[in-house]
């Protein structure tokens, strides 16, 4: 999608996109910001290892039409197979369009579920909170976002049921949905959310997601982003969160599918006592590229961040981890840890991992570590000496490496499904049911 093509598309489609005049102005600013910046190139330090050429040279429709009834029922089939029995009925999007027909059940007390159109003025405000010149892809999302959802939790509300957001790419090729999610937690509230990305086909498409989170004092949000796109799908996203006093954010990133995946996560621990726990597992097999770019700003004293990422890189797979922790001036008593551990299953795989620290305060505790390794020969020999064949032993150790992190997914049915998907990549999985 060249910049000129996007300009033309924007001019032609703007009048059909929802929103007030304020939002329309925000869209125009965003498009102008994108045009000025263009796609990020590998000349930029933050994009050194990730080439957006498949997006820049591809042909996609940034405002996909509504899916056919057929596509919707096929998507529903995929959703049913997730067996999400626990929680509010899943909110399903196909090619970016909400497809929950009929009347939705009443949300739990204290939770408002708004469509992007309903929440639009808020969205315009939120749109302004992203530094568009630094985030050209998020600017594109602001310009073109047609659908999305806004979750608002009232002060003090404890929402027990998880909210599942499911995004399915249909078999219609060359679509580029731009979903927009806003999550707003009032003081002392709690919420759990999952975002699933599923692909129905093997054709190419591009999902460009923006998730914005705003957390009031002492609120707690758990968000699992589970990406299982088809093998040819491109996925870019920005998750931006701002946390008030003693707010707590737990983020889990699981990337199993997709051809080119770039996750930008930006968390601002804006007020004293805020805490963020980020964990992730990605698998980059043959021809897959997965890039996790995390930035955590410790803007206030006594803030805590934890980052734990594990990557499994197969033959000709590529992984990138960049974790940046910035401790701002006068933000004392900071505790920040970062780890990035990677398993290279082939000498033709590639991983670039770079933890970064920028510290402008003096009373801080920061640590980071990165490892890149192969499977442990002692562990392999130990299992083989018990009679387990080499391929199974390798698969078992690879699974164990991922599973240590997957254990943190605090929703058993989801944890099990993800673990099964990881197992499906490895040899000998049929005998491994008891591992789960």
């Amino acid at each position: 999608m060249t910049e000129a093509y996007l300009q033309d598309q924007f001019k032609a489609r703007l009048k059909d996109l929802p929103g007030s005049s304020a939002l329309r102005a925000a869209r125009e600013d965003a498009m102008a910001a994108f045009s000025a910046a263009g796609y990020p190139t590998r000349k930029l330090e933050d994009w050194r290892y990730t080439d957006l050429k498949p997006i820049a040279t591809g042909q996609f429709d940034p405002v996909p039409d509504s899916p056919s009834q057929d596509a919707v029922s096929r998507a529903q089939g995929l959703v049913d197979r997730l067996e999400l029995t626990n929680g509010y009925p899943p909110l399903v999007f196909v090619d970016g369009h909400p497809v929950n027909g009929g009347e939705a059940p009443r949300p739990p007390d204290g939770l408002e579920i708004l469509s992007l159109a309903e929440a639009w003025d808020g969205a315009a405000k939120i749109a302004a909170e992203i530094a568009l010149d630094e985030r050209p892809l998020a600017a594109l999302n602001t310009a073109f976002a047609e659908n999305g959802i806004c979750l608002r939790v009232a002060s003090g509300a404890q929402i027990a049921e998880p909210i599942h957001l499911i995004f399915v790419a249909s078999e219609q090729p060359s679509l580029a949905p731009q979903p927009r999610i806003a999550i707003d937690l009032g003081p002392d509230s709690t919420l759990r959310v999952t975002q699933h990305f599923l692909g129905a086909g093997e054709h190419s498409g591009w999902t460009n997601l923006v998730t914005q989170i705003s957390q009031g004092p002492r609120s707690k949000l758990t968000l699992y982003r589970l990406q299982q796109h088809g093998k040819a799908h491109l996925h870019t996203e920005l998750l931006k969160a701002e946390l008030a006093d003693d707010a707590n954010l737990e983020l889990g990133y699981i990337d199993l599918g997709g051809k080119l995946v770039r996750n930008d996560v930006q968390v601002d621990l804006a007020k004293p006592g805020a805490r963020c726990d980020l964990f992730g597992v990605f698998m980059a097999g043959e021809g897959q590229h997965v890039d996790n770019h995390i930035r955590v700003d410790h803007s206030a004293p006594r803030t805590i961040s934890r980052e734990t990422f594990r990557g499994i890189i197969g033959d000709r797979g590529r992984g990138v981890f960049n974790g940046k922790v910035v401790v701002h001036k006068d933000a004392q008593k900071i505790d920040a840890t970062q780890s990035s551990d990677n398993l290279l299953l082939s000498d033709r795989g590639e991983i670039n991992t770079k933890p970064e620290l920028e510290i402008y305060a003096d009373d801080v505790k920061c640590s980071h570590g990165a490892t890149v390794g192969q499977l442990d020969e002692d562990q392999l020999f130990y299992m083989r000496s018990r009679g387990v064949d080499e391929a199974t032993a390798r698969g078992l150790l690879t699974f164990a490496f991922a599973n240590e992190i997957l254990q943190r997914l605090d929703m058993p049915e989801i944890r099990e499904r993800i673990a099964r998907t990881v197992l499906a990549y490895l040899p000998g999985q049929q005998q491994w049911d008891e591992l789960l």
């Binding site: 562990q379 020999f381 083989r384 387990v388």
Partner: protein, 251 residues
């Protein structure tokens, strides 16, 4: 059962075993003793199939099969078991799972069906009680967070579940207190039978008072310098190893 003839082994061009000869028949318990660096652990690892070592010459057969060409898992399936001197920790793979996977792999190699779940739990319960391994250890990662003594007891538990025809136990007794040594020795003795054999690699005579060997060999400078019955172990305990070397040099 196991026949080793004129075995020469090196690692990184450095000779470690210089012509080892050893015959182990069914029903026998052999002890291999010797000073540090004499090649005891190398011998145990080479029998089990560790590929860090280069076998320069010689032969090893097990039940008449050429061991040298067999992968470690094939050796295990043929009935060989190595008790590790330093058992590896494997976080994320639970003990029970490994035991079951190992047992089923060995059963499949013998053309037997998978172990019945109920039967398996019964075996585990029985043997872990004998080894005094608490139930909650079984669902933890393999050896994860185990003390030195717990790891050694876990090795013997694995041996008892797998019921090998030949167990090579590499310094299972080192680092154990008297009580743990008794537990481990009871496990070893429970496996003794006319159709099984055991090789105990050890530094100390105290294990051999509890598991009395039929033969004692002294490994020195990469070859067996002296063999005898269990009284040799007591003699070594009293006199050390130097006299064996001196005797061999005179010969």
């Amino acid at each position: 059962m196991l026949q080793i003839e004129d075995l020469h082994v090196q690692i990184d061009g450095h000779a470690i075993l210089n012509g080892v000869n050893l015959n182990v028949a069914a029903g026998e318990v052999h002890a291999i003793m010797g000073p540090n660096g004499s090649g005891k652990s190398t011998l145990a690892q080479v029998i089990a199939g560790r590929d860090d070592y280069e076998i320069v010459s010689g032969s090893m057969t097990f039940h008449g099969q050429d061991l040298i060409v067999m992968a470690p898992e094939e050796r295990a399936r043929a009935g060989l078991f190595l008790g590790f001197q330093y058992p590896t920790e494997i976080p994320g793979v639970n003990n029970t799972y490994l035991l079951k996977a190992a047992l089923n792999a060995q059963r499949a190699a013998r053309g037997e069906s998978e172990v019945d779940a109920f039967e398996f739990m019964k075996i585990i319960k029985e043997q872990s009680e004998l080894m005094q391994i608490p139930k909650e250890f079984l669902t933890r990662g393999v050896n994860e967070g185990f003390s030195g003594g717990e790891k050694k007891r876990n090795e013997i538990l694995q041996m008892l579940v797998l019921q090998p025809t030949l167990a090579v136990l590499d310094e299972t007794d080192s680092g154990l207190d008297v009580d743990a040594l008794k537990v481990v020795a009871a496990g070893m003795n429970s496996l003794r039978s006319p159709d099984r054999a055991m090789i105990l690699v050890t530094h100390y005579e105290r294990l051999l008072e509890l598991v009395v060997p039929d033969f004692v060999h002294v490994l020195s400078e990469g070859r067996i310098a002296k063999s005898g019955d269990s009284s040799l172990a007591r003699e070594l305990d009293e006199r050390g190893y130097n006299w064996v070397r001196a005797e061999e040099n005179r010969a």
